[in-house]
Amino acid sequence: MKLSRRSYIVLCASMLAVAAPAYADSVDTLQKIKQAGKIRVATDLANSPFGMKDADLKPIGVDIDIAGQIAKDLGVELQIVPTTGPNRIPFLTTDKADIIVSTLAKRPEREEVIDYTQMPYSFSQSVVGAPKTMAISGWKDLAGKRIAVTRNTTNDTDVTKKAPDATVVRFDDEATTIAAVVTNQVDIIAQSPEFLDVINKRNTSKQMEAKFVVGQNEYGIGVRKGNPELKKWLNDWLVTNFDNGTLNRIHRKYLGYDLPKDFKTIWK
């Protein structure tokens, strides 16, 4: 078959158009979850202590326990959809997951594409960590140094903005970012303090310590836009389970300290 140049271009363009997605319908995800008898939760299983696997390779962590409790209270089966920092929101917006429970901090640019629950379910600090021998006490000391972050996470956004003279080295998931530091490829990292222990355990010569706090992140549940029923159900669920202490119990179990008293109104 001989193609003229013009029809060739039309063919290419139409192939691109077909590749675009068909989106959105009017049925609330809450009904679809109940109909299907299962809830698909996007979460990262390489993000200790929020999502990880125990010695028997069973998923555990704050995010997993929260997701499990939601599924139980909805009376449906929990289906974990493994994602990473960069792709969890695309998974939600393209309907490959029903909700995100994956250390999802609130960001204005994220709120343009997805909805958040009105209160978070957990929180953690994030710090700049480096070996003990390095003298670092603030953003200025990072100038000219290389710092490892996971692409498109809150840490990436913060470090990129606040340390413009540092070289930010970005990896696709938390596991690779940790690996970069464990293998001495990069010495400085922006992460939750819990991760520094993980690094020190795997590479005992590393002696990582928290140098300064980047910020505190509260983690909410991500819901696809246009699902008021599901959002309302989750909001009520969060309030109920904060009041009865379930949220605190789960948070304490993995992080060792309590949720603040004003946690319910922290996003207001």
Partner: protein, 227 residues
């Protein structure tokens, strides 16, 4: 289909995409030149070198062609660092690409060398050409000319494969595109755009190869026919 395309949100980040394109282009140029050198040297060693060299090159080609590029990159970026060899990530990543494409180039050029007829080499000997002259003018150049189309597509593939380095911390075009996607969440716009960027880069690489071919193959330049 009711997805509304919004390219303006993505275009706001064009400096990032441009930076990524530049990194991809730099990676491509460096790895193409070095990969070609590695390929020619190894092909010559594999066809005409001493037995031990043939065996070493053979092992190199087999190991590299039968393992994924991503693992080779992980090995060079993280593996060497934990063994105490400190290379900047971009350098380690480039080496991974060179090592990878070098193995493929070796096999392609070896095929070209095998296709040089024995009588050609005998004729060169009769004309009193030295061993080096025979290699350069009678073996390698016609061999390269014969397999040049295969080499071209291998190096276009190399340019596309450089996107894998985003996984080990190199912010090339794909890595930058993922970041833009993270700022805007306009996934399809970003993918359509970098698809077009890669297409453009592929056209550039292909044309560069055609022009370079005319430069190094005077026979083709004068006659314009395939060997």
């Amino acid at each position: 289909m009711n997805y509304e395309f919004n390219f303006t949100a993505v275009l706001k980040y064009w400096p990032l995409l441009l930076e990524g394109t530049w990194v991809t282009l730099k990676l491509t140029i460096v790895t193409t030149v070095m990969g070609m050198v590695v390929g020619v040297v190894c092909a010559v060693l594999r066809t005409g070198g001493p037995p031990w060299a043939r065996r070493i090159v053979g092992a190199y080609v087999e190991v590299i062609r039968n393992t994924p590029l991503l693992i080779q990159a992980y090995f060079l970026v993280f593996g060497l660092a934990s063994a105490g060899v400190h290379l900047p990530i971009q350098v380690a990543g480039s080496i991974a690409l060179i090592v990878n494409v070098g193995a493929y180039t070796t096999e392609i050029i070896r095929a070209g060398i095998d296709a040089v007829h024995r009588s050609q080499i005998e004729a060169a000997e009769c004309l009193g050409l030295s061993r080096l002259q025979t290699y350069v003018h009678v073996i390698i150049r016609p061999a390269m000319e014969r397999v040049y189309p295969a080499l071209t597509s291998q190096y276009v593939l190399l340019m596309l494969a450089s996107s894998l380095l985003s996984a080990v911390g190199v912010d090339e075009l794909y890595g930058m595109a993922t970041r833009v996607q993270g700022f805007t969440f306009r996934n399809f716009e970003v993918f359509v755009m970098i698809g077009a960027f890669y297409l453009l880069l592929a056209v550039v690489v292909r044309h560069a190869f055609v022009l370079f071919g005319l430069l190094i193959f005077p026979r083709r330049r004068k006659l314009g026919t395939a060997l």
